[in-house]
Subunit: 225 residues, 2 copies
Amino acid sequence: MNLTKRTELHRLPDRGAHDRETIYQILDAGFLAHVGFCVEGQPFVIPTLYGRDGAKLYLHGSAASRMLGQLATGIPACVTVTLVDGLVLARSAFDHSMNYRSAVAFGTAQKIADPAQKMKSLRVISEHLIAGRWQEVRQPSEKELKATTVLEFSIEEASSKVRSGPPLDDEDDYRLPVWAGVLPLETKSRVPIPDDRLIDGVIVPDYVRDYQARLNGGTSHPSDK
Amino acid sequence: MNLTKRTELHRLPDRGAHDRETIYQILDAGFLAHVGFCVEGQPFVIPTLYGRDGAKLYLHGSAASRMLGQLATGIPACVTVTLVDGLVLARSAFDHSMNYRSAVAFGTAQKIADPAQKMKSLRVISEHLIAGRWQEVRQPSEKELKATTVLEFSIEEASSKVRSGPPLDDEDDYRLPVWAGVLPLETKSRVPIPDDRLIDGVIVPDYVRDYQARLNGGTSHPSDK
């Protein structure tokens, strides 16, 4: 990953970080990306799941997906992951802010043709989202694999932005009788809803019941160690 | 808003919806958008807050913001809002899915020059995020207003996609002894963290303490009624 014009931070440089570890931490903590691409000058931004292995992100979907079809032609793409940590409520409207972590990755994608490599990449996506699930479920059939497009997105450049901590008001504003502080926000998992047609005796797996731990801590990737 | 090639749904048309009410409901329930634009064929996807008034979205930021500067030139833009409602865990890897609501809006933005109109639009953004806050805080000064760029993004076309409900497995897979169901996810607000320099006796406002209601229900906009 390089630092060039695409990822120069023109504003608030103190919030910007380009170190690989921070970027990977954000990508690993999130699971929803917004993927951008241009078709004849028209931008499209589409939400999608992903997985990461080193500097590669894996995306998947229907073989009929327009987004995947476009990305597979090798056009420039942008993958952004944003985690919202809280509302920063200052004493002045102007100094309101948000605590967040975001990673913006630039690169290009290519379609994975080899079935074994496809299967491996789908497993990366699945394990990223919910570790432990893949080995318990029925694996993709040959037909299902054919109906699935898997892309490998190579991160060529990336940047991150992080804001945390309390509001920063103008010195004069601290005397105002206005409540100020941070309202923390987080993604929470609720009680799992079992399917109506579950076989008797099948219980909720630990990795589903304890999903909150994944949401709070992100996942780790052996390839980084 | 029109339905043309940009917003045709090529895949899973049962999940697609183009009615204005659904799109507005999604835009109103969310508060974080991912904005896409192209510069010399390179897509950029940047997270930002927004507010809505009818078919207009308001975006704001530093007058030095590169994104706002680019958008203000009137280039085509895409604003996407995604709400994740849960993981859909099927008995096969292939039939896993996500419950979500997303809105994709295409249009162009223009800079708001008139200070009164700027102030009004900033209020729309503020009220969208946290209704009740604007009237309690110090209003923007002339200098602060000059340091802030506010854009009005006109929605020219938009589409939405919604998935809800249980997993849909292949008939043969229902006999597998695999736990299946939905793991609901939601954004939650936690206990507010008061700023260290609060004036004695200033208490947490109701709209902060009860912010979860806004996260669950979205906001309503008088202009739709």
